[in-house]
Symmetry: C2
C-alpha cells in the first residue's frame, strides 16, 4: 500500500479526532480522510460550553472552531455528521455506519481507523433519572437545552463538584441562578487534597452557593411541578434544573464489540503511538488509556490537551511509523477558576501517593503572585510533593487569585524534566515587579522542601496534628483579633528574649499568619535546643479549617 | 573554630547581601552577622524604583523591605549603614571600614566575608557628564532626585534602551513627561533578537515616545538653562533631565585591591559555592561572575533573582561546607513591560548563538494567550532556539500582552531540565479557557520546531530572505487591505484548485496573517511537488518590519 494514498477513517470529530485529521493531511495530500461524527457538529470548543451558558462567551458561533464545510475547504476532509459508527469489521477493515437522519446503513473501508469517540457523562440508573429536567453537559445541544432554562432565581442542583461541576456552579451563579452543589466526597474538587480544595469551598460559600459535602443523590421525583431530589442522607432538595457532573465513562462499546483490548476501567488499551491491539486501529482522547510518566502505571485523563496531542501522535504514526514522536503519557495537569479563586494540580496528590504507597514528603508555602511591594500582588498557596528518596517532584497543587496557572505549568515542565526540589530552588524565573519576585514562590517552595528534607524545618500540617504547646508568633494585635485556640502569643521579634517562657521538656509548635515566620521562629527555637515544629499554611487557613470541621 | 559562633561580615545590604544574612541566621543563632552598607538603606526593593517614580507604587515606604532596626529585631543582625568598606586585610582576616558621616575609620575582624556590593551604573567620561541634571538610577536617593524633577511636559532624554531604560521610559510617560530614548544599537532591548525587540519599539512609538536608534551620546552642555545633549551623529537634543541607563560595572575595587581573582570584564571569579580564590571570602550578586549552565562558559547576569539565590548559597556553604546546594548558574531570564506590551527572554538569543558558533535552529510562532474562543485572548509571539544536533532548547523569546511571563518561565524550567523541542510538544500544561489552550503556544512551538527539524516546514525569517514568487494565502479582503509587495493572493481554501497558477520551476514562499496558515499552504505545495517555504510570523509583522527598515 502506498501510505500517502490510504483511507483514514476517524470516528469522532472533536478534540482528538479533529487533531488527527488535520495532522494526517499535513502528511499527505492524497490520503482520503473521513470523519464520522455522531453529533451535528465537529471541532467545537467543548471546554467552552459552560462559559456560553454563563454568558462570558457571548457568541455561540465562537464555539464552532470548524464546520464540515471549512474542514472540506481547508483540509479536504470528508465529514459525515449525524452519522454513527455501529460496527467495526476488522477482518474486512471496514466500518458499518448509520445516517441518524435517514437511518440508512452503509459500509466504508479503511486502511487505518482512529477511534476518538470520547467519553459520555455518567447517568446512574436512579429512580426518576429520566426526568427531562436532569441534564449532563457534553454537546452543543446539551448546552442549548441548559441555557433555555435560564431565568433569575432558577434553582439548580449540581451533582458532582469536580471541574465541570465547579465551572457550571460559577457560570450559573453569574446568571443569577440559586445554585446548590452536592458532592459525595467530603470535599469539593476531589482531584486535590482536602486542605487545598477547601479554598474553593470558601470561594463558593462566599458567593452564596450552597455546598452539600459527603452526600450523594439517591432519587428524583416530580413534586408539584418542581423536581424533588432526594439525597442519600434523606435530605430533599427542590430544583428547576439538575446538572449531573459526576464523571464520565469511555465510549467503548464499538471497541468492545470489535474485541479491542480494554483496560480495567473500560478504556481502550493503546501503545505509545496510540495503536490498539489491532495495528490498523488507533484510539485517542477520553476513550483510551494512557500511562503515567511519573511513576509508571496506567493513567486515563479525560482532558482536552492530552486528546489533541494523542490525535497528532496517531496521525504521525500512520505516516512515519516508528520514527513518529510517541505520546509522552499524561500527568493530569488541570485547573479551574471559581469566581476569583483559581485552583489546580499537576502530577500526583498526597491522597494518590498514599494509595500507591510511594514514600513522599510534602510542604505547603504561601507567597505572592508577584513582588509584594508592587500593586495587585495576591497570595498563592503552593503544595509540593516529592519522592522521599531522591527529591524528585511528584506533584503540586496551587490555589490563589492570580498566577496559579503559571506555577502549575512550571511544575508540569519540572515533572517532564524529572527535576528535584533542589532544581526548583534554583529555577531562574522571569522577574520584574509586575510579573514575579526575586524569589518566586516556586523557589520558596524549593527552599522549604530542602529545609524539610535536611531537617531544618519540621512541619506539621495542621492544628489537629500539633501538640499542646503552641506559640503564636504574630504581632499581638493579629493574635488577639483571631486567636489560635490554646496558643500563647510571643511576637517573633520578642522570641529570643522570652525563651524562658517556653517549656523545653515539651515539643513546641509555632504558628504565624502565612506559615513563613513560624518557620523563622521554629529555627530560633531549634537552635536554642527546643524540639520545635512549624505549623503549615498560617493561622488564617488553619482557623478556617477548624471552623469547617466543627 | 566552632562554625556556629563565627563572625560573618557582609558588604552590601540589598538583594544578595540581605539574603546571605537571613539564611546565615537560620543556620546559627550564635554567629555574629554584620552588614556593612555604604548607603543609607538596606534591603530595599531596587527593582521597584522606576515604579515609584512613575506613581504605580504610591508609598515610598513600600520599597523598604527591611530597616536596620527590623533586621536587628528579627535576625539579630548588626547593620552599619552609611559605612564604607575601604580595605580587606586578608592575612589578618579583617576589614577596614569608614563611617561616612563621622569619617571615623575602624577595623573589624571576620571569619567569613561576603562581598555583595553590587554594580554601579556606567557614567562615561564625556564632556559635560557632571551636569547635575544627568542621573542614573540605583539607590533610593537617585529615585528621590529623579522624582523631584517631575512636572507635565518634562523633557527627558533616556540613554540606553535596555530593561531599566525601557521601564523608566514607560514610567516617566505615565507622569506625562516627553520622553526620548536613545540607543546605540539599531534596536531597543539588545538582549533580544531585533525582530522580537521590534514589538517593543512599536509599543513605544504608539505612546509617542521618540526613539533614536543606532546613535549614542557624545557630550552635554548647558544651553540657555536647558541641557543640550549632542549625539554621536551630531544631532542635538534639549532636555530637562537625562537618565543614563547604558549598563553597569561590578563594584570590584575592594576585591581588586585585595588581590581577589577577577574575570575578563572585572567580575569577581567564584566557584559554585560563591567562594572566591580566598576560601574565607565569598562574592554574590552583580559583582561576581557565574557560569552558563546551558553551554558552559562564563555568565555575568546583573539581576535580582540570581543575586538573592547566590546569597543563600554562600550562607549555606559557610555552615554546611560541601553538603551545601551549589549555585546552579545563570541563564539570564528577564522580562520587561512597556505599556501593554511585554517582552522577555530566557537562555540564549540568536545573536549570541551565532557569536558562540553553536549550530542551532529557530522558529517563531504566534498563538493565543488562552483559548481563542474565550474573551480576552491576546496574541503571543514565541521564538524558540534549539541545538541543531539534539533538539535541546537553548533559549526562547516571547512578546505579547498577556501570559508572556508564564511562557518564559516554562522555557526557563525546560532549560533547567535540558528538555528538547519534542518535550515541549508534549508538555501537559494547565488548560481551562481562561488560562490556556488545549494546544498551548508552547506545544505549538514544539510542533513547529519538530516540523522544521523533520523538513516538514521550511521557514524563512522575513520577506527580505524570500524569493520573488510569494503567495499570500490570506482572504482577499485582508490581502487587499495590507498588500504584501510582489505577492500573488491565493486564499488558502482555493490553493489546491489554483496550483497551475504557480511556477513549479521556482521556489515558492507563502505568507499569511499570523504565520500559521502559510505553513498549511506550504505543506500543500510541498506535497504537490513544489519547493515551498513559509514566511515566519505573519504579514502584519513582516510589513511593519519593512516599514521600519525603509
Amino acid at each position: 500500500m502506498n501510505q500517502s494514498q490510504q483511507t483514514i477513517v476517524i470516528i469522532g470529530g472533536v478534540a482528538g479526532g479533529a487533531s488527527a485529521a488535520a495532522r494526517a493531511r499535513r502528511h499527505s495530500e492524497k490520503a482520503r480522510i473521513i470523519i464520522i461524527e455522531k453529533g451535528a457538529y465537529v471541532s467545537f470548543a467543548n471546554c467552552g460550553l459552560p462559559y456560553h451558558i454563563g454568558g462570558e462567551i457571548t457568541e455561540r458561533d465562537d464555539l464552532l472552531l470548524q464546520t464540515p464545510q471549512s474542514l472540506e475547504k481547508l483540509l479536504r476532509l470528508e465529514v459525515l455528521t449525524n452519522t454513527e459508527a455501529i460496527a467495526i469489521h476488522r477482518n474486512q477493515k471496514s466500518l458499518e455506519i448509520k445516517n441518524l437522519q435517514s437511518n440508512e446503513i452503509s459500509t466504508i473501508g479503511y486502511d487505518r481507523l482512529i477511534l476518538a469517540p470520547g467519553a459520555s457523562p455518567l447517568r446512574p440508573p436512579l429512580p426518576g433519572i429520566d426526568d427531562p429536567r436532569i441534564h449532563t453537559l457534553r454537546t452543543l445541544g446539551d448546552m442549548d437545552r441548559i441555557k433555555s432554562y435560564l431565568k433569575p432565581d432558577l434553582r439548580v442542583l449540581i451533582i458532582g463538584a469536580g471541574f465541570i461541576g465547579l465551572e457550571m456552579a460559577e457560570q450559573l451563579a453569574h446568571q443569577k441562578a440559586k445554585v446548590t452543589l452536592v458532592e459525595m466526597q467530603k470535599q469539593v474538587l476531589p482531584q486535590l487534597d482536602p486542605e487545598m480544595a477547601q479554598h474553593i469551598s470558601e470561594a463558593l460559600r462566599e458567593q452564596k452557593i450552597e455546598l452539600i459535602l459527603g452526600d450523594g443523590i439517591a432519587s428524583f421525583a416530580d413534586h408539584e411541578n418542581t423536581l424533588r431530589c432526594t439525597l442519600a442522607s434523606g435530605v430533599t432538595h427542590d430544583a428547576d434544573l439538575v446538572i449531573l457532573s459526576i464523571g464520565v465513562r469511555p465510549e467503548n462499546q464499538l471497541a468492545k464489540n470489535a474485541d479491542l483490548t480494554l483496560g480495567k476501567r473500560g478504556h481502550i488499551v493503546v501503545n505509545t503511538y496510540q495503536q490498539t491491539n489491532d495495528p490498523h486501529i488507533y484510539a485517542v482522547g477520553d476513550v483510551c488509556e494512557s500511562y503515567d510518566p511519573i511513576l509508571g502505571g496506567v493513567a486515563a485523563i479525560p482532558l482536552g490537551g492530552p486528546a489533541n496531542r494523542q490525535g497528532r501522535t496517531a496521525a504521525d504514526h500512520i505516516f512515519l511509523e516508528e520514527t513518529a514522536l510517541p505520546y509522552a503519557g499524561s500527568i493530569g495537569t488541570a485547573i479551574v477558576r471559581v469566581f476569583s479563586t483559581v485552583a489546580g494540580i499537576s502530577g500526583h496528590s498526597e491522597a494518590r501517593l498514599r494509595q500507591l504507597e510511594i514514600p513522599y514528603q510534602t510542604i505547603t508555602v504561601n507567597g505572592a503572585s508577584h513582588a509584594s511591594y508592587y500593586p495587585g500582588a495576591e497570595t498563592i498557596t503552593l503544595k509540593l510533593l516529592w519522592h522521599a528518596e531522591n527529591g524528585r517532584i511528584l506533584g503540586a497543587q496551587a490555589v490563589g487569585k492570580d498566577g496559579v496557572d503559571k506555577r502549575l505549568d512550571i511544575i508540569a515542565t519540572a515533572i517532564k524534566g524529572r527535576l528535584t526540589i533542589d532544581d526548583l530552588a534554583h529555577l531562574e524565573l522571569s522577574y520584574a515587579p509586575p510579573f514575579g519576585s526575586a524569589k518566586d514562590i516556586i523557589n520558596i517552595g524549593g527552599f522549604a522542601a530542602g529545609n524539610v528534607r535536611d531537617g531544618m524545618l519540621k512541619p506539621v500540617p495542621d492544628l489537629a496534628s500539633a501538640g499542646s504547646q503552641i506559640i503564636d508568633v504574630r504581632p499581638t494585635a493579629s493574635a488577639e483579633k483571631s486567636p489560635v485556640p490554646g496558643a500563647k502569643n510571643i511576637p517573633l521579634p520578642q522570641l529570643r528574649d522570652r525563651l524562658h517562657e517556653i517549656d523545653p521538656s515539651q515539643p513546641v509548635f509555632t504558628i504565624c499568619q502565612m506559615g513563613k515566620t513560624s518557620y523563622f521562629a521554629a529555627r530560633i527555637l531549634a537552635l536554642n535546643g527546643f524540639d520545635a515544629y512549624s505549623i503549615q499554611a498560617g493561622a488564617h487557613h488553619q482557623l478556617k479549617q477548624l471552623q469547617d470541621q466543627s
